[in-house]
């Protein structure tokens, strides 16, 4: 309300009085000395003054106020409020006062000043329901927006153009008293209050000024320690509110806690780095290419393989480094880009690096099937198999050489055997003829000749036997004696063998045979078994001259069968046991007992062909027991 014109061409006092009596508010105008200069009907009605306004003109307002205080719920407050207003001399609007009758009134005060100074005090009491409703609505709206702002999970503050807080929400500052204290203050005040360094305030001030200057939103990230000492990341923004005339009176500041997002990002970065380290440490060369064939990434094996320091040149296509198999490789890549599959069978390509040595690489292609955005990419895993191929080639060559050598050996033995037989034939036939001629002459000379020719014949027999065995051993070692298993009745088989050859043996002893367990048919090669058991029995007899007969025991078990051949002969020296089954080996204690030295070697091979095992127990001077056991393959 401005200065009232009371003189000149304006309205008359009566007209003004009429006007003021018809407004819906209670109006009182007092002089600086607190004399009532004007009062309307509504005022009298509100305060329950029984007389008309005209009778109150010129009366003391202060006294009237004190008298009226009792109408209000807080009489002291009513009076103090008036005194405060007088003292401060500042306008007041919509000060709510509650009366005892339940009515609420809203009081406005305005000091009226003219050129000469204070003209008076204007009091307006508003109590219409409409105004109340409006004010309530405003309050409701205010509460609603304040609640909204307080419940948004972000720090929200509103600043004036001097970067002082006008509003701050609960999320930013939970304590109400601190929030109230901050209104009208800035971050520097806050830092002083908290006794903290003001670098945070300075940093925010800079961004604030930037937003004021540019008139645009400014965004920045803050990292602060929490009360528990953990790092808290906030994304902050200053959003200047432009008035219609383009000036900025207020700036909205808000911050969102992005600590978890940053933690997840860090975690993902760590995982990504771990994966990258893993790929970098792989023995394989890993290359990632785009659809154009350009290299996006290559792990450190790239430098090792290509003798190139530094990373792969992204301008150069991968195919340009390849040699044999390049066309097929390029086709495979194209096919994969069109129709990616998870796995691909290994193919080969060669690569010729700076040193000129060709490398053969085995590769397989994998696509990044989860990559929905960005260019398509493929990962190719290369394994350098150059060394492996070379080793395989060497092995094949060695195997071929060994086969050739074996064949050579076999041929040699065959030839030697054949060639030796011819001179032996001559020696034998000549000796026999001599023997025949010597038989026709009488006397000692004739007998002597017969003795000597007899020896020649005997030794030729031995040599022939030796050649046969030697040839047989070479055949067995070369794997040229095939294994033909048939169902064998072991009891019958052994009985026949023993009856044919060892009952009796040449020295008159007969072998002692026993059977343990229930006899059964088993799968075996009779020729091999005959050879093996004959050899063992021959040894048992040969190496126990003058001792009781050797024993042979056949035993049947659930999953195996065994033959035990035991003698009480010369036994085997402890140091000789390990070499027993090696060819051309004989015990040091055999003396004059004859033997070729490779019989047991053949026995071992035949037993092994039957998947059997041999165990030897022996004591020098006491005897030897050889146990041969076989898994039971029942028919």
């Amino acid at each position: 309300m401005n200065t009232v014109a009371v003189q000149g061409a304006g309205p008359t006092i009566e007209q003004l009085t009429l006007l003021l009596n018809n407004v819906s508010h209670a109006v009182l105008f007092e002089s600086p000395q607190h004399e009532i200069l004007f009062i309307n009907n509504n005022f009298c009605e509100l305060f329950g003054i029984p007389v008309g306004p005209e009778l109150l003109m010129g009366t003391n307002c202060s006294q009237a106020a004190e008298q009226s205080a009792s109408l209000f719920m807080d009489p002291d407050g009513f009076v103090k409020g008036i005194r405060k207003v007088y003292t401060e001399g500042k306008p007041v609007s919509n000060e709510e006062l509650v009366m005892h009758n339940g009515r609420s009134v809203y009081r406005d005060y305005k000091p009226i000043r003219t050129e000469t100074g204070l003209s008076g005090h204007l009091w307006i009491y508003k109590y219409t329901q409409e105004l109340r409703a409006i004010l309530q609505e405003v309050q409701t709206q205010k509460n609603f927006y304040e609640k909204l702002l307080n419940n948004i999970p972000a720090d929200i503050a509103i600043f004036n153009s001097r970067h002082q807080y006008v509003f701050i929400n609960k999320v930013a500052i939970p304590k109400e008293d601190l929030r109230e204290w901050l209104i009208g203050k800035d971050d520097f005040d806050y830092c002083r209050l908290r006794n903290k360094p003001d670098n945070l305030a300075r940093c925010r001030r800079e961004y604030f000024h930037e937003s004021l200057k540019s008139g645009d939103m400014v965004e920045f990230e803050e990292e602060n320690p929490s009360a528990e000492g953990k790092k808290v990341h906030n994304l902050r923004r200053f959003y200047p509110l432009k008035e219609e005339d383009g000036t900025i009176q207020n700036v909205i500041g808000y911050g969102i806690n992005i600590t978890r997002i940053r933690e997840r990002e860090n975690h993902m970065k760590q995982q990504e780095q771990a994966l990258r380290d893993l790929v970098d440490s792989m023995d394989q060369l890993v290359v990632v290419v785009e659809e154009s064939g350009s290299i996006v990434y290559a792990n450190p094996r790239w430098c090792d393989l290509l003798w190139k320091p530094g990373p792969a040149d992204p301008e150069k296509k991968l195919a340009s480094y390849l040699h044999k198999g390049k066309e097929a490789f390029v086709k495979q890549l194209q096919h994969f880009f069109e129709k990616p599959v998870q796995q691909h069978r290994h193919a080969r390509v060669s690569l010729v690096p700076e040193d000129g040595k060709e490398h053969i690489l085995s590769y397989y292609i994998a696509s990044f099937t989860n990559l929905q955005e960005g260019p398509k990419r493929l990962a190719i895993f290369f394994t350098d198999i150059t060394g492996q191929l070379k080793a395989e080639k060497e092995l094949r060559k060695m195997a071929k050489e060994e086969r050739n050598l074996n064949q050579l050996k076999s041929n040699f033995l065959s030839m030697v055997s054949h060639e030796l037989r011819t001179p032996l034939s001559i020696i034998l036939s000549s000796a026999e003829l001599l023997e025949m001629f010597a038989g026709t002459s009488d006397g000692q000379k004739g007998k002597l000749v017969q003795t000597y020719t007899g020896r020649i014949v005997q030794q030729v027999d031995k040599m022939t036997q030796l050649i046969s065995e030697f040839l047989f051993l070479s055949k067995v070692e070369a794997g040229k004696v095939p294994y033909h298993p048939q169902p064998v009745n072991l009891v019958v088989f052994l009985q026949k063998l023993l009856d044919d050859m060892y009952r009796p043996w040449r020295d008159g002893r007969a072998v002692d045979f026993s059977v343990k367990g229930e006899g059964q048919l088993v799968m075996g090669d009779e020729l091999m078994l005959t050879h093996a058991f004959s050899n063992l029995l021959n040894n048992a007899f040969k190496y126990s001259p003058g001792q009781p007969s050797p024993k042979i025991r056949l035993a049947f078990y659930k999953k195996s069968w065994e033959v035990l051949i035991a003698d009480q002969g010369i036994g085997i020296q402890p140091g000789q046991l390990k070499k027993l089954f090696q060819p051309f080996t004989r015990g040091a204690n055999v003396g004059t007992i004859e033997g070729s030295g490779f019989g047991l070697n053949i026995v071992k091979i035949f037993v092994k062909m039957h998947k059997g095992k041999i165990k030897v127990r022996s004591s020098e001077g006491k005897g030897t027991a050889i146990q041969v056991s076989f898994p039971c393959k029942r028919t």
Partner: protein, 125 residues
Amino acid sequence: MEKILIIEDEGIIRQSLSEMLGFFNYEVICAADGKAGLAAARSASPDLILCDVMMPEMDGFSVLKELRKNTGKITPFVFLTAKVQSDDISKGKQLGADAYLFKPCKTTDLLKTIREVLDKNKQEA
């Protein structure tokens, strides 16, 4: 006298066998290789052929095979050889050899085998 044809490339064996068989009243004719032996077998009509296996150009198996092609008189055939592998023995018998003896062969065994084969042939004739 019964006639024996010896087909053997080793001269000393031919000589040794000739002397020995002669000593036991056999008439002996010799051939130094398979071809000559085949020709002698056809021309001389021996009662028995004693043949080596390993000979140059034409081995003993081939000689027997050729001889057995004739559908007329079948001369008894005995191998006397240093080839002692079981495959060789089987092959010899399959081709129709009456006996297969290994070198060095005892004189008694040789004479016994020759006698048995000759007697068997006479019986069959």
